[in-house]
Structures are given as structure tokens and as C-alpha cells.
């Protein structure tokens, strides 16, 4: 029995296809250059163990503080090499540090890391725009109070009382707390 799979031709495709493509299938000149699986670098997937060229193993441990802490699986060991790009800092750093105290198979680890990202962004933008915002708000307050003083609005006079429809001036209600206090 021939176990070789049938190699479909462009004609077969066009004959069998329920959907006719706009143009006949054109195979490029390099078609099938890696048809033989032996030519594919990832086949077989696993090979006899062999160190890569120029390998020095085991690697020397790196000194310094990793930017990404080790995640919290208790039997995880620190790898010899790590990144040092942006250290943990601020509130986002505290959240991330707490996230890393959990193992990476715990969904909370990832959700807390995402929360840390959002807080990092808020912290950054607050730090970036808060001084400018405070300065603008302070300047606005000073200007508006000066403008009020220059127009004589510093001390407000009581407005004239509205005229009632009976022609008289509405009596300003004067009440004391005692009036509203419960009587005993």
C-alpha cells in the first residue's frame, strides 16, 4: 500500500474547489524547496542534547539587583542572568512586588501586575502634569481675586431686596437658631 500522501496539483484544486478563485493557483518558483522534512531545522522537534556553539555552562551568576523579581513559586531558583531595565518604584512598585510574591500559575499574579501597570501610568502622568496643573490653578486663583478687587467686588454689598407683586419690598427673613429650635 502506498502510504505517501497525494500531492495536490493546481488542476486538482480548481476541479475540487467549491469556490473558484479569481485566478488559477500559481505556484512560485521556490515551491516545495523544503518539502522534504529533513530539510526543516525544527524537525524532529527534540534532538539529542548538545550544547550550542560558544557555550560556557553553567553560566556565572550575575551581580546586582534584577528589575523583575523572581515569581513566588517556592521551589523556583534565581536564574544566573536577568534584566535590569527599570527598577521597581513607588506605589506601582509595591503592587508589582506583591504580585511577584505569588507564583505565576496563580491568576492573581497577573491581574495584580496589570493593576500595577495602570497605577504606574497614573503616577507618571500625575508627576508629569500635576506641577503644571497646580501652577495654572494657583495663577488662575490669584488673577481672579485681583480682578475682583480692582472692580471693587472685594467686599460685596447686600443686594437690594426684590419687589413683591403686591408692590412692597420683601421683608428680609431674619431668623435665629432659637426660632427653629424644638420647643420644650
Amino acid at each position: 500500500m502506498n502510504r505517501e500522501p497525494e500531492v495536490t496539483t493546481p488542476e486538482t484544486i480548481l476541479r475540487r474547489s467549491g469556490y473558484q478563485s479569481m485566478e488559477p493557483v500559481r505556484r512560485p518558483s521556490y515551491w516545495g524547496v523544503d518539502l522534504d522534512p529533513a530539510r526543516r531545522p525544527g524537525v524532529p522537534g527534540h534532538r539529542e542534547p548538545r550544547p550550542m556553539a560558544n557555550t560556557r555552562f553553567p553560566p556565572e551568576p550575575q551581580r546586582g539587583m534584577p528589575a523583575a523579581p523572581m515569581h513566588g513559586r517556592t521551589n523556583k531558583t534565581m536564574p544566573p542572568v536577568f534584566g535590569t531595565a527599570v527598577p521597581l518604584r513607588g506605589l506601582s512598585g509595591a503592587i508589582r512586588k506583591y504580585a511577584y510574591s505569588m507564583p505565576d500559575h496563580d491568576p492573581s499574579h497577573w491581574l495584580l501586575k496589570l493593576l500595577g501597570d495602570r497605577v504606574d501610568s497614573w503616577e507618571y502622568h500625575a508627576k508629569k502634569y500635576l506641577p503644571l496643573g497646580l501652577a495654572v490653578a494657583g495663577l488662575g486663583f490669584i488673577l481672579s481675586s485681583r480682578a475682583s478687587e480692582s472692580r471693587g467686588l472685594g467686599r460685596r454689598k447686600p443686594r437690594s431686596l426684590p419687589v413683591t407683586r403686591w408692590g412692597g419690598e420683601a421683608r428680609r427673613r431674619e431668623w435665629s437658631r432659637r426660632e427653629w429650635a424644638p420647643s420644650h
Binding site: V33, P41, G42, P51, R73, V81, F82, V86, P107
Partner: protein
């Protein structure tokens, strides 16, 4: 030095940063000559990858010149022109000795889910990336691949990630000749997956995207059939093209920002209640035939997604996944480039200086101006 830095979701800027230094005896420092913006950088930009910190530098596809090497770095010297696989690996651990450099266990304290990657958040080790003038390269003697003199930087650059990832994506489909291969996503990785599917003997290759200009690019460059899933019901069309069964193999080259489901976009991409939108995986499950293979190379973050696992199980499909173990593909793909079978630099529709990178990110993310892929030149000398 000048470096692209992250400033919160949807914001990047080019700022001054201290130059990297040798921190381990096997480290090296590389002056970056070209760096690409990858589709997966957009997941970082959009705040979808956990522990992406303000001030972090992106960039995991780059080439450069070796400036300095540590005392224990072997087989490499200053002045060598190199390209770097996007992962960082030791070369001697359980996985590295078996060729699986993408699974190295010696470079990432933050998670067991992946090895260290340049410029891909602190979840992937906290290594600054190559969208900068200089970059620290751990295990430079093991990881760096020298670029042959007759290969341009821009032809080598996609091999560091997009081309290798696309090639491994096709390889995981276990093609034996004549199969119908569906490729979801006609971005750079999808394009290289299409090329690789042809090279491995696919009978027909069908590209899927929602941007007509990208489908046109795929049709013109690689001669594939195309479907715009915004204009057609994808699964119905694919089954119609395959005698009602579905594709023999589907390569998912989209990742966690897939369109096609407003619910998943709302939950995953905007509300971040799942790890991005899993819609491309669900399309793959439905558009692949029973017993077919799904090759998942799109990037997804932890912790969970709404994947239609019941249909996947009932259809007796196989899913193969993984980041590309780039190092093992480099010599083979360089051979294809040198033989003239492919010119990888074709995907670079946009080329600009590092200072223009924020604008380039915007153009790439918004899919404006016919953008397929962007190359940056941090040390000038635009090609």
C-alpha cells in the same frame, strides 16, 4: 544615548537614557544599525502585556555592530556585524541543548511562561530592547549570528523574529505536500508563514485579513488566494473552498488584538478582563477541518482567554504553539536569502530614523499609509 521609551498605554517617546554596560562576563554591547517594529510591540504599546514599565525601551528585532564584549564571551569580537534572535538564551540548559532556545530556563526570573526577550516587558525578564542606539546583549557569543557579507542588514533583520516565526508556524503544520493552508493575518509574520507554506509544499495558501491593502500585498508578493473577513463570513467561505471540510492546517498569525468579535474586543482589548481577544483562535478552530492542525504563533499574554475549546476537542484537532527558537532557523533562512528565493526586506514599506519612531508606531498601529512593517535606523544611515 537616544532610546525609544514607553510612557503609558498608547504613548512612546524618544528620550535620553544611560548607555548600557556589561553586567555579566558573557555580555556584549551592540551598536544598533537597524531595528524593526514588530506587530507584538503594539501589544506592549496598548498596555496588554503585564509589567510593562514607564521608561522601558521596546525592540526585539535588531541588527548591529558589536562594540564591546565581556571577558567570557567566546567566538565574537568588537566590529562583528550581527543579528540577534529575539530571545536571550544560555546555550547549555535542558532546553537549549535540545535546540529549544525559546524555552531557555536561565534568563527570566519573572515567569516560567517564557525566556528572556529584549524589550518585551519585565514579564519577559526586564531587558531593554533594540529600538535605541545601543543595547546590552547577554550571552552574546552564543546568541549572536554573524551576518554574511553578501546579505544586507534589512534582509537579515526579519530573520531575527518575523521570518523565523512564520517559518516555524508553517513547519508546525507538518506539511507533506498538497495541503490547503489558511493563514490568519497578512502582516509580516503571516506573509513569511505564507512563503514558508509554499516552500514546504502547500497545495494552496489562503490569506485572511481585514485590510485590503495587506491582502493585495500578499497576492502581489506571494501569489496566494485572499479573503477579507469583514466582507465575507470567513468560515462559510473557507468551507466552500474546501469541499465543506475546512483547511487542512491553519496558521494563526494575529495574536491578542484580533478583530472579528466585538464582545471579545470589548472584554479583552479594552476592558482587559481576558488576555486580549481570542477571536483569531476561534476562527482557526472553526475554519480548520476535523483532525486538522492549528499552528498558533500569534502573541497572547496570560492569564486566560475565552477560547472555544469544546469545538476544538470535538473536531479532534491538534494545536501546536510556541515562540520560534530562532537560532536554529537562522542558517537555513540565510541560505534561502542568499539563494535568492526570498528578499525579506520587501516587507519594509516604511523606513525612518529613531526620532521618528513615535510617529511610525502610530502609522503602523493605525494601518495607515499602506504600512506593512517599519524599519528604524537608530544610528542614522537610512537604507
Amino acid at each position: 544615548m537616544r532610546a525609544l521609551t514607553y510612557e503609558g498605554p498608547y504613548r512612546v517617546a524618544v528620550r535620553n537614557k544611560p548607555e548600557p554596560r556589561i553586567e555579566h562576563p558573557q555580555d556584549g554591547i551592540v551598536r544598533v544599525t537597524s531595528a524593526a517594529i514588530c506587530g507584538s510591540d503594539l501589544h506592549l504599546l496598548h498596555g496588554l502585556v503585564p509589567d510593562t514599565r514607564i521608561g522601558f525601551t521596546f525592540g526585539h528585532e535588531f541588527t548591529g555592530i558589536v562594540e564591546e564584549v565581556g571577558p567570557n564571551a567566546q567566538g565574537i569580537k568588537p566590529g562583528d556585524r550581527v543579528m540577534l534572535p529575539f530571545q536571550i538564551f544560555c546555550g547549555g540548559c535542558y532546553y537549549c541543548t535540545r535546540g529549544l532556545s525559546a524555552c531557555c530556563e536561565n534568563t527570566n526570573p519573572a515567569t516560567d511562561a517564557g525566556t528572556g526577550i529584549y524589550g518585551y516587558s519585565h514579564t519577559m525578564g526586564g531587558y531593554d530592547g533594540g529600538q535605541a542606539e545601543y543595547v546590552r546583549v547577554p550571552f552574546i557569543g552564543v546568541d549572536a549570528e554573524k551576518i554574511p557579507e553578501d546579505v544586507d542588514d534589512l534582509d537579515a533583520l526579519p530573520i531575527t523574529d518575523a521570518f523565523s516565526t512564520g517559518y516555524q508556524g508553517a513547519e508546525m503544520c507538518d506539511l507533506r505536500g498538497g495541503e490547503t493552508v489558511l493563514v490568519l493575518g497578512a502582516g509580516p509574520v503571516g506573509l513569511f508563514a505564507m512563503w514558508s507554506a509554499w516552500a514546504m509544499g502547500a497545495g494552496r495558501v489562503i490569506a485572511v485579513d481585514l485590510e485590503n491593502y495587506r491582502l493585495q500585498f500578499a497576492r502581489d508578493w506571494l501569489g496566494v488566494e485572499t479573503i477579507n473577513f469583514k466582507e465575507h463570513d470567513l468560515v462559510t467561505i473557507v468551507k466552500g473552498m474546501t469541499e465543506g471540510r475546512g483547511a487542512d492546517a491553519t496558521i494563526e498569525a494575529v495574536g491578542c488584538e484580533a478583530s472579528g468579535s466585538p464582545v471579545h474586543r470589548a472584554l479583552g482589548v479594552y476592558a482587559k478582563l481576558e488576555a486580549g481577544s481570542p477571536q483569531a483562535i476561534n476562527f482557526a478552530i472553526h475554519a480548520t477541518r476535523k483532525g486538522g492542525v492549528i499552528s498558533l504563533i500569534g502573541a497572547y499574554g496570560p492569564p486566560f482567554n475565552g477560547v472555544d475549546i469544546g469545538t476544538f476537542m470535538n473536531k479532534a484537532q491538534t494545536m501546536r504553539t510556541g515562540q520560534a527558537s530562532v537560532k536554529r532557523y537562522m542558517p537555513h533562512l540565510l541560505e534561502h536569502v542568499r539563494a535568492g528565493r526570498i528578499k525579506p526586506s520587501t516587507v519594509f514599506t516604511h523606513r525612518c530614523s529613531l526620532e521618528d519612531a513615535p510617529r511610525a508606531y502610530h502609522t503602523f498601529a493605525q494601518k495607515k499609509d499602506g504600512c506593512v512593517k517599519v524599519a528604524l535606523f537608530p544610528n542614522g544611515n537610512l537604507h
